[in-house]
């Protein structure tokens, strides 16, 4: 029985793993020793059996070709899916940008300050320049505004005067806003007209009970 070292040497010899000097030494020992030669033969026999095993593990050419084709099909399918995924991601990103742009624009549009149209106000007629005017030739219900020396409109600057037939101011109602003064003047004017209708007989009172 050879030593472990000699067995390993012979294995390396058959594996072409020895240096030229080592190959020469082994060849010389083989020539000189029948035991070494017999061991080498046994090792070769075992290798042939194993070679048969390796060969039996190999698929046929047809099997290998079928396998290769399935691998290639799978890779091509994966490549197609990657491309579709890339296109989908690109499309989603573009759609998201568009939606964000639209949403942001809508949001900003909604928060823009409303275009305030100037009120269609009829500029009141400046008749008096003092606040204590008691005599006036104004038509009842006419709106006046009183400005101070600086031409500013103080609080209650819009005044509606109630006057008699002689034009004497019977009462003055002050308003801060022109619209309020206009509404009051309109109502006052309707009341004055109705009274005149009654006085002129245009309206017949059915009852004085209300």
């Amino acid at each position: 029985m050879l030593s472990e070292q000699d067995q390993e040497l012979l294995e390396a010899y058959l594996d072409d793993a020895l240096s030229p000097d080592e190959v020469e030494r082994v060849a010389k020992r083989l020539a000189d020793g029948p035991a070494l030669t017999a061991e080498l033969a046994a090792i070769r026999q075992q290798r042939r059996m194993r070679a048969a095993v390796w060969e039996s593990l190999a698929p046929s050419e047809a099997e290998a070709s079928t396998f290769a084709a399935s691998v290639i099909r799978g890779i091509r399918r994966q490549r197609m899916m990657w491309r579709m995924s890339w296109i989908t991601r690109l499309g989603s990103a573009a759609a998201a940008c568009i939606l964000m742009g639209l949403g942001g624009g809508w949001y900003l549009w909604g928060r823009m300050p409303a275009q305030s149209t100037p009120p269609a106000l009829t500029p009141p007629v400046a008749v008096n320049t003092t606040a204590n005017n008691s005599a006036s030739n104004n038509t009842p219900g006419q709106i006046h505004f009183v400005a101070n020396a600086a031409n500013e409109l103080p609080a209650g600057a819009y005044q509606v005067e109630l006057t008699d037939d002689s034009g004497n101011v019977l009462a003055v109602q002050k308003f801060d806003k022109l619209e309020e003064a206009q509404h009051f003047a309109q109502d006052l004017g309707q009341v004055v007209e109705r009274q005149q209708d009654v006085q002129n007989g245009h309206v017949t009172l059915v009852s004085d009970h209300f």
């Binding site: 472990e4 067995q7 390993e8 294995e11 390396a12 058959l14 594996d15 072409d16 793993a17 090792i43 070769r44 026999q45 075992q46 290798r47 042939r48 059996m49 194993r50 070679a51 048969a52 095993v53 390796w54 060969e55 039996s56 593990l57 190999a58 698929p59 046929s60 050419e61 099997e63 290998a64 070709s65 396998f67 290769a68 399935s70 691998v71 290639i72 799978g74 890779i75 994966q78 490549r79």
Partner: protein
């Protein structure tokens, strides 16, 4: 990378798969035995390579493919065991070497090889089937040359002990070294 370069890489990759599949399946079968499907191992190894295909030179991919299959085979073996894939390994049904070694002998030797530790088995497959040098095997298995020598030697010793006096009925024509 341009579209033309990408298409060329894809073409070279597919050609490599067609050229080397048979050999890669044999290597995978030799290493994983009945513990995993060799087809799954090779397919996974090729898929992994394809995902990073731009990194490699596909004009001579033999060593790359082999190393990838070996790594995937060993990775599979080191997972928690799920049990044997099958009782018998698939492969060619006819007797190898032109019927000069009977199928029963082949089955016994194959079973003995399957019982070797995974590193022993991997080193033996790469040495005797792929005819790789010890330095190449060391690189493929991420080991040192002395480790590879030890693994191969111990694999052969264990097989000799397991198989005892098993002899083939006949022998094939010896090679130049044999």
């Amino acid at each position: 990378m341009s579209l033309e370069e990408g298409a060329e890489i894809d073409r070279l990759f597919e050609r490599a798969v067609q050229t080397h599949s048979r050999r890669l399946l044999t290597v995978a079968r030799g290493i994983v035995g009945t513990r995993a499907s060799p087809e799954d191992v090779v397919q996974q190894a090729l898929t992994n390579l394809y995902e990073h295909r731009t990194r490699y030179d596909w004009r001579d991919p033999g060593g790359l493919l082999r190393r990838s299959v070996v790594n995937e085979s060993l990775r599979i073996l080191r997972r928690p065991r799920m049990g044997s894939v099958g009782e018998e390994q698939p492969g060619r049904s006819e007797s190898p070497l032109g019927g000069m070694i009977d199928r029963e002998t082949v089955a016994q030797v194959r079973a003995a090889i399957d019982r070797l530790p995974e590193n022993f088995r991997a080193a033996l497959v790469l040495c005797e089937y792929e005819n790789m040098a010890y330095t190449q095997i060391a690189e493929a298995l991420n080991a040192t040359i002395p480790q590879v020598k030890t693994w191969i030697h111990r694999a052969r010793r264990q097989l000799a002990q397991m198989l005892g006096d098993l002899k083939p009925d006949a022998v094939a024509h010896p090679s130049a070294k044999e």
